[in-house]
Amino acid sequence: MRMPEPDAGVLARRAEIAAALRRIVPGEGVIADADELRAYESDGLTAYRQAPMLAVLPETVDQVSRILRYCHDHRVKIVPRGAGTSLSGGALPLADGVLLGMGKFNRILELDFANRCAVVQPGVTNLGISNAVAHAGFYYAPDPSSQIACTIGGNVAENSGGVHCLKYGLTTNNVLGLEMVLIDGTVLRLGGKALDAGGYDLLGVMIGSEGLLGVVTEVTVRILRRPAAARALLIGFPSNESAGDCVAAIIAAGIIPGGMEMMDKPAIAAAEAFVKAGYPLDVEALLIVELDGPQAECDHLIERVREIATAHGASSLRASRSEEERLAFWAGRKAAFPAVGRISPDYYCMDGTIPRARLPEVLARMREMSVRYGLRVANVFHAGDGNLHPLILYDANEPGELERAEAFGADILRLCVEVGGVLTGEHGVGVEKRDLMPAMFDETDLAHQQRLKCAFDPDGLLNPGKVFPQLHRCAELGRMHIHRGALPHPELPRF
């Protein structure tokens, strides 16, 4: 993975830049010590490491604004960071860049139950929001598995999902407003406490923009009343096909479960060995289907799903009878990543989405690739929305294995696109999938995305090297290659 060439001129000015930043954020807020900087050298994608030139930890919006304006005026690159759990290298620092740590923005500013929203700073953790409103029976719906650690600012940047997002949506469907700072220091408000805002939906554009458009300094999220009840079914199948058909049949029956997760045989084995959740080991695929909502609805739907599963050849089936049992069903799935981490020195988590009907074919081809690359793969899968998480097992200490794992991963993602899916369902493009973007988008598609970038950050100083395989200069993108009179179709009517 190549990052943009460090700018020697900027590196030469390191001391001067540190001094300028210290004038904005006094005291401990600017980090220049090489050992301390190492704490920021990677995020959740640990294969890539790069210490930043400097790190700065602002505490106020005014400081963020002044830092950005300084970087803008002096052409210094800047990489925002929340908790550093990104799995796509979104928060990977740059050798000649300033890392902007948003961890000190960790206050909950307002709980507004009458308007069913909460106003928080971006460094508040995802779970922190739900915890803060739990006493009133509310919660914040998107629930990435990293929710204890990841920040809402990171969630906004990545448009993070979770196991409940088929029914409750991703981050973008649950954020009402943002305060953000542009690279030139301008502070903007997008949306607010109302559902719809007039004008271009720049709030929607910011969410999922991977830290390339601006720095988020405040987030207003919707909070929902916690469902009255939740029950889960643990269903084993003799084949991936029958499990996939069952998922399709549940949805075709008009049922949108709160969660619907699938695991393949290697993932089941790893999870069961790790947490002893009571998963059947003699099945090819395991489904967890969770129904949530009013008690009457859960009880009714659990029976309907049971019938559908039986009709699709389920070889084992258990319905949770207590909250403990429901949580036990989930324990294995939730621990799937660390469980796989126990059976392999390293693993690489992929994140493509496919049309669900293509699942058996995709799993079969993945197995072929696994043989070809000589690397094992375990699959956990947000079955309801087709979001695959293949976990490729490798050993970074074995020469060449990381590269093989990466090549295998890239092949999986190309396969996702080939069958009509996409490169990433919830983890973002980052540096990881940057060079795969042309598999999904042609040059004109990417140029239009970059024109949006140019409107926000014309000099490309925010998080460069991420998302786009090639950054074109904005002046070049602005040029139009149409000349007066030189029409492609001379038979066209004249205006």
Partner: protein, 423 residues
Amino acid sequence: MQGAFDEAGERGLTEFLPGDEGELRDIVAAAAGERQPLEVIGAGSKRALGRPLQLPHSLVLSRFSGIVAYEPSELVLTAKAATPLALLEAALGENNQMLAFEPPAWGRLLDGADSGGAGGGQTVGGILACNLSGPRRFKAGAARDHFLGFRAVSGRGEVFKAGGKVVKNVTGYDLCKLMAGSYGTLAVLSEVTVKVLPRPEKTRTVLIFGPDAERAVAAMTAALAAPHEVSGAAYLPAGLARRSAVSYVAAGGTSVVALRLEGPAPSVLARASALRGELAEFGAGEELHGRNSAVFWREIADAAPFAIDGKRALWRVSLPPALAPALLRQVTAGSDVEYLLDWGGGLAWLAVAGAADGGAGAIRAALAGRGHATLIRAPAALRLAVAVFEPPAPGLAALTARVKAGFDPYGVLNPGRMYPPQG
């Protein structure tokens, strides 16, 4: 390309009727090359929405019609952008599915013409480009939340695509959000992919009679804070309730709060009785069953009670729900204003009579930046004189202009539809 346009006679208007994406691209590229603005038209059902355009050339997309792919169990549908919404909804209906954001049909509201059925002659691209959503918005999301991917021609005369054809995707910037609510000012959509969802098996509507606006918002707030998954929450004062085609609503002769419950039958019945019990303090109740519920919520989506008196300036105000009572007090004091509330108070429709500015000043003063007021219906002169969309703060206005310039550098797509053209 021959025959792809015709001269619309008396005013010397040119109407372009591209038949495929290549022709669409060439027309927009030519328009950009010659700096000739185009009015972009799907079915024309919303031409009276937004700032009025007086352009000599129009780009009519009616030939971009038809469903391209529909996989009910994938919850995804792809259609050409000018596919009539009615056609699309009929296909969904056959599979017991729907567009969960309940696209409103404002044909009758905007020009008094009967729009003929649910789809109202409008197109799927039009409803997405204007990001219009109905009563289920606060639970199921807006049009923008169901917009998964598209193909389009930007004002640069270039074909591009964004998003995907699966329900979960974060690859690249979410340009669907940018298109939703851009009123055709950035790009001309040629094909769209939307998320579709199962239709609820059963619907009940719990009615509470008699509350004033303040009590009504309190009742709706209590209902939405309960775990009953209410999917519609509206309030009609007596005068508007009387205009409903649903006799239970009209005959009460009083104001009414309506709360919708949808889902599997046993669940809906259990929730309806629980909700009535919990809200007993707010007044006597009644229940609408499936058919009456459908008629009633269609009226709310389409703002049907306001179709009667077309002379009033009609505003749609998105606001924090708890602010609704104060807003109504301020705006109605001493003025002739009819209103109804939707989205649990988060959406106020205001029909203003007798104010020179259509009520713009009073409404925006009462909102004080906390919400967004859009002028939905007014004579063209008024839509030119006052800001139709909430005026953005200066920093946001500048950013908006830069985004517009990136996608449509010569301002050829619906220039002035949202904000006065610059310079």
